[in-house]
């Protein structure tokens, strides 16, 4: 069977999956009584609604013409780089200080696009670091180290 609208199909499957997982994980949540609806009531209702919507979308994806999932490009490079940049910031900021976290994360992010001009990046980053230290550490008084050795 040819899938006619893979985008819808994928979205539908995603909803069904999340709904099913929600039911599975939340199976033990107490449902309480009519007067005292418990922890599990709304999650259960929502999970079934998700499965319902997902099912409709999956069917729609299979029989109706729709956009293809593979249409357009998947921006793998930016996705990976931006994610790594965020992770880098998180890992560095406490021990390494704000400047280190900023420089590393911004550099990783800049690697995400071929448009980056490194000299320009250098100037920009320096300015951003100065502004950030003034605004956040001196101005707002946030308790972050500026440099790893502070």
């Amino acid at each position: 069977m040819r899938v006619k609208g893979s985008q819808d199909l994928a979205a539908g499957l995603m909803f069904v999956l999340v709904g099913a997982l929600a039911i599975r994980i939340g199976a033990d949540y107490p449902v309480g009584s009519w007067q005292r609806p418990g922890t599990g009531v709304l999650p259960l209702i929502l999970a079934w609604c998700l499965i319902g919507v997902g099912a409709i979308l999956t069917i729609k994806g299979m029989i109706l013409h729709g956009p293809s999932l593979l249409e357009g490009q998947w921006a793998w490079r930016p996705v990976i780089m931006v994610t790594l940049a965020g992770i880098a910031f998180a890992l560095l900021v406490d021990e390494g200080g704000l400047v280190a976290a900023m420089v590393v994360s911004m550099a990783i992010c800049a690697l995400g696009t071929p448009e980056t001009r490194w000299k320009e990046f250098g100037y920009f980053t320096v300015i951003m670091c100065v502004v950030a230290v003034i605004m956040f550490i001196k101005g707002l008084g946030m308790p972050i180290k500026v440099f790893p050795w502070n």
């Binding site: 929502l46 979308l57 729609k60």
Partner: protein, 502 residues
């Protein structure tokens, strides 16, 4: 209230609000508020909490005026990032991204920013008058709402969240449900049970609104734009003037008026009313427009209405606090905190025992709005100029602000990890053409709906019919059902056609 009474009260109010000291505090509040509204992450509640202890050293009127300034200053500032970089600063600006960002992409960022400021100012003026004239009767209206009514109102709000989707309604429905489920992650306050936390202690208090927004909107946006020059064909080359045209103003006029009235009423409802203001207005405008297909593609009414609504709601949400001492939201709770720090016990007696404070606050609201529009309009040129920064640099700046914004909330690096995860999720949604706005609205309303649902069932002693027996609740549910049908009908018809053809 007699007209002469009104005048003498307002005169008293202005005499208090317009002292050099209090004007200064008003300005300070407005400035700080705008700044934090623009900065993604830190919001008015966090800022007020930070500044609350220092307000102790100010006179009570000055302290409260400044705190209030921070609040509505943040409303003005939050729409700026929403329009310019598709990043809502506050829950009230989630709807502004829908058309505001599209307008920016069409070179009309200036017009969008301006109409947001103008609409907010108009709404602020009207709301101030409403408070001055009708605070007590409006409070009585709000008192008619019982938990069952609030629950049904939340359901109506969720339907609005679906209606405002520009793409597939079914997908929007799924996103709303998904958002609601995400909103339930964390500790169930009524029982102390943990839901969907997987043992991660950072999730015990639930997923934070800010990390979610930063990830879904901020990170995902730069992922989508970095190498896709077509998509981000931004303002850089075609800024068509900084101000809205007469055409724009004419089109927006009624939206501003409607938004003001809608927001004004919703703001009075303690506990979740103001949240609905912006997207109820958006839904209203979309339904009333002659050509609804323009919405989601840069319709100026989609900015004018919601921005007016949320500013009107922000002001009227002071009413329950001023007349009864009941805070409608976390910000009002801060204001009450500000009062308590000065030994002022909030309650119905504040209006009569401290009229200078009461009317002074009302007068300063108007003055604050005036200051904000004077501050914000000239800055539009500056903001638009910033858009000209090449994207290869803009993206790393946005990345940084997202990270620091989230980190600054709780000094928690773990939350920054969350935005990395939400970023990937957000990109995924983008590729699947699932809009994040309905998800966010579900995320906000879901937990509220659960609180009210449980309270309603507890009070009705387990009788689910209460939702249909109470007239307010019934009207909301009927309205929700009608709207939902209108929105789903074309889809059902399409499906039937396909079935027949095949």
């Amino acid at each position: 209230m007699e007209l002469s009474d009104l005048f003498s009260n307002l005169a008293l109010g202005f005499s208090v609000a317009a002292t050099p000291g209090n004007l200064f505090w008003c300005l300070m509040g407005a400035l700080v508020g705008t700044a934090i509204g623009v900065l993604p992450g830190v919001g008015p509640v966090a800022t007020m909490a930070l500044l609350l202890p220092t307000t102790y050293y100010l006179p009570p009127e000055g302290a409260l005026i400044m705190l209030a300034g921070i609040y509505y200053g943040a409303q003005y500032g939050g729409s700026t990032t929403a329009i310019l970089i598709n990043l809502p600063g506050e829950s009230s600006s989630v709807v502004t991204v829908l058309d505001g960002y599209q307008m920016a992409k069409q070179g009309r960022a200036g017009a969008a920013l301006a109409i947001a400021a103008i609409g907010s100012f108009f709404a602020g003026c009207v709301a101030t008058v409403a408070i001055a004239v009708a605070a007590p009767p409006l409070t009585k209206v709000a008192q008619q709402f019982a938990p069952a009514d609030y629950c049904s109102l939340m359901v109506l709000g969720l339907v609005f969240a679906i209606v405002l989707a520009r793409g597939s309604v079914v997908k929007a429905l799924g996103m709303v449900f998904l958002g609601m489920l995400l909103g339930l992650v964390g500790t169930d306050v009524n029982t102390g049970n943990l839901r969907y936390t997987f043992g991660i202690s950072d999730l015990f208090d639930g997923i934070g609104f800010v990390p979610l927004v930063m990830g879904l909107f901020g990170m995902a946006e730069i992922m989508a734009n970095m190498t896709n020059t077509e998509r981000r064909d931004l303002v850089t080359s075609k800024v068509t003037g900084l101000m809205p045209t007469w055409e724009d103003l004419k089109t927006s006029a009624m939206s501003v008026l409607r938004g003001t009235i809608l927001g004004g009423f919703l703001g009075i409802l303690p506990g979740g009313g103001a949240v609905l203001a912006s997207f109820s207005s958006y839904t209203l405008e979309k339904k009333l427009a002659k050509d609804p297909s323009r919405f989601g593609k840069g319709a100026i009414e989609g900015v004018a209405g919601p921005e007016s609504a949320n500013n009107a709601a922000a002001q009227t949400s002071f009413i329950p606090m001023l007349t009864l001492g009941i805070p409608s939201n976390a910000v009002m709770a801060m204001m009450i905190g500000g009062m308590m720090i000065h030994g002022i016990v909030p309650g119905p007696q504040v209006m009569t025992e401290r009229p200078g404070l009461f009317w002074g606050m009302i007068a300063s609201m108007w003055l604050g709005n005036l200051m904000l529009i004077v501050l914000n309009l000239p800055m539009i040129g500056l903001w638009v100029r910033m858009l000209m920064v090449p994207y290869r640099l803009m993206s790393i700046a946005i990345l940084f602000f997202c990270c620091i914004g989230v980190y600054s909330l709780n000094n928690s690096a773990n939350e920054v990890l969350f935005i990395a995860v939400f970023g990937i999720l957000g990109y995924f949604f983008f590729k699947l053409d699932c809009e994040p706005a309905p998800l966010l609205l579900g995320f906000i309303l879901g937990p509220l709906l659960e609180v009210y649902m449980r309270r309603a069932m507890l009070l009705s002693r387990g009788d689910a019919m209460v939702f249909i027996e109470r007239p307010l609740s019934l009207s909301f549910l009927i309205l929700a059902a009608i709207l939902l049908t209108i929105v789903l009908l074309p889809n059902i018809r399409k499906a039937r056609e396909v079935a027949f053809v095949e």
